[in-house]
């Protein structure tokens, strides 16, 4: 076999699995065996092929120079991390491997006179619905709101970066503030550069705002991918909600129509996404002064009285 995600020593031929070097092949070893005419009586245990980054196998040091050579220390590696966790061999740096407290989808759409984004207020801990009153959308400044999916702690960090930029604007005191597209551009660079260091901020962010007559709605992902559109979603909503947006959204919808559309998309999302709860907020930005508002949490009506749901175990006795 070959090792999963194989880290091979660079510049070396693939190590061959081999059996005992004893002349008689009485004990077949794991992997293929190799005929040997050597009369040596050294018993070398079979080399088990595995991912070499997890360290030497069962061959003791000093017995097989070729084998030892693979694990020779390659000199001071100041920047190289430990590779995968619990490794002895250096490898690419890997930091963030998995998010912990996560938010699910964020939806956004423009309407005539502004833009609104919506999300639920759940912070999941794996599949546990752990934090049910999480503010997943925040106001950035007087023209911009931002919503996140993914890891909460990374978003908290992003908010401290944005808060620092706001303080700089405040101290500069020239009447100018960062525009929504400037914030989006800044976040794109932050996300992309973190991804280049193999230490991403595990978020997809939706940035929405209105300034100087221009309505802005865009998203940035954890590898720095970004785009701007009249309607978008981050997370599961990309599959669930965007088709509905494509059918029904127009740029000059009224605010009430946009809100109805968003609520119907939220209904679809909450009925299909198992890591979502029926408690939503909508953030709205218009062209007026200091307009970002985030409404109080509300629920959408859901209906489960579909015929096929009535006796779900009818054809599957024994389940509930």
């Amino acid at each position: 076999g070959d090792d999963a995600g194989g880290l091979r020593p660079r510049g070396r031929a693939q190590p061959q699995p081999f059996a005992c070097r004893k002349p008689h092949a009485s004990s077949p070893a794991a992997g293929s065996s190799r005929q040997s005419t050597s009369q040596s009586a050294i018993m070398i245990p079979a080399r088990v092929t595995h991912n070499q980054s997890i360290g030497p196998g069962v061959v003791p040091a000093g017995v097989d120079p070729a084998y030892d050579a693979q694990y020779r220390v390659r000199g001071p590696s100041t920047h190289c991390g430990a590779g995968r966790p619990f490794c002895v061999a250096p490898g690419p740096i890997t930091h963030t491997q998995t998010p912990y407290v996560t938010g699910t989808t964020v939806l956004g759409c423009k309407f005539k006179g502004g833009v609104m984004i919506a999300c639920d207020t759940l912070g999941s801990y794996g599949s546990t619905k752990r934090y049910k009153s999480l503010e997943r959308m925040r106001r950035v400044n007087s023209t911009t709101v931002i919503g996140f999916t993914g890891e909460l702690s990374d978003f908290t960090y992003i908010m401290t970066l944005l808060e620092e930029m706001n303080t700089n604007d405040f101290c500069e005191d020239d009447g100018k503030e960062l525009a929504p597209w400037e914030i989006h551009s800044y976040l794109c660079r932050v996300m992309y550069n973190r991804r280049n260091k193999f230490d991403p901020l595990w978020n997809s962010l939706v940035v929405a705002g209105c300034k100087g007559g221009r309505t802005f709605l865009a998203m940035v992902g954890m590898i720095g991918q970004h785009y701007e559109d009249s309607h978008l979603a981050a997370g599961f909503g990309q599959q669930m909600a965007r088709p509905l947006f494509r059918e029904q959204h127009t740029d000059d919808m009224s605010e009430e129509d946009a809100r109805t559309l968003i609520e119907s998309c939220l209904r679809v999302c909450v009925m299909r996404d198992k890591s979502m709860i029926n408690k939503f907020q909508i953030a709205k930005v218009t062209h007026e002064e200091n307009s970002p508002t985030i409404c109080e949490p509300f629920a959408v009506s859901t209906t489960w009285s579909f015929e096929k749901y009535k006796n779900p175990s009818e054809f599957a006795p024994g389940c509930w």
Partner: protein, 249 residues
């Protein structure tokens, strides 16, 4: 002037026989040549004012400010060499943001004043740098309330109820001492400061602009410029008081 510190005034690292560091004294003289900068702590906040002398007629009004916020809850006004004032303000900004990112909270007044005093003092210890030729007034709101500090080129840092530096400071300090600051609100403080700035302005000098900023309950605990309406009213009252003084004489 050239005979005063002969030989002992060439470097910050040299004492004179009577125990002075002349370079620091000379830095203070640079401050004395700058426009008046004053501040008072009223019962609900701190007001800072600067008499910004305008050497050229072509300057755009409102540019080249001497008062700036260093964080939302703190601000500085300075006088003396203007680039030195800017450098001190920049350093204070980075102290504030460094404290916030390390401790997660806004820097308290005492700690910021202490750090800035250390920074200014450091420049009086080494031969290769010169002391700052600027004094700054620091106004901060923290959990203890509002405070006003004066930072001088030698690194001295004192907390004040009211003080003034720069040209005409003695007259200004006399006027400030007459004010009952503990009973004044910041609106009244703004008017009092404007009156003092205009009253102590030397006629021989050129035009000047009066910058006013405050941090008080009325500004939401944030360091902001005094709202234009109030500032204009204060300046109008100050000019009127000056004219009526002239007429009395």
């Amino acid at each position: 002037m050239s005979g005063i510190g002969t030989g002992y005034d060439l470097s910050t690292t040299t004492y004179s026989p009577d125990g002075k560091v002349f370079q620091v004294d000379y830095a203070c003289k640079a401050v004395d040549n700058g426009g008046l900068c004053l501040g008072i702590k009223c019962k609900d906040g701190v007001v800072l004012g600067v008499e910004k002398l305008l050497p050229f007629k072509m300057l755009v009004p409102g540019s080249n400010r001497r008062i700036a916020a260093v964080d939302r809850h703190a601000g500085m006004a300075g006088t003396g060499l203007a680039p030195d004032v800017r450098q001190i303000i920049n350093r204070a900004r980075s102290e504030c943001s460094g404290y916030l990112s390390f401790y997660g909270d806004r820097v308290p007044a005492q700690i910021l004043a202490d750090r800035m005093a250390h920074y200014l003092h450091m420049f009086t210890l080494y031969w290769s740098v010169r002391p700052f030729g600027a004094s700054t007034l620091l106004a901060v709101k923290d959990f203890d309330g509002y405070s006003l500090y004066l930072l001088e080129p030698g690194g001295e840092c004192q907390r004040y109820f009211g003080t003034a530096v720069g040209k005409g400071r003695q007259n200004a300090k006399n006027e400030i001492e007459k004010l009952k600051m503990a009973e004044m609100t910041c609106e009244e403080g703004v008017k009092a400061l404007a009156r003092i700035v205009y009253a102590t302005h030397d006629e021989k000098d050129k035009d000047f602009e009066c910058e006013l900023s405050w941090i008080c309950d009325a500004s939401g605990g944030e360091f902001r410029r005094v709202p234009k309406a109030l500032a204009d009213e204060a300046i109008a009252l100050a000019v009127a008081a000056l004219d009526s003084d002239d007429m009395d004489q």
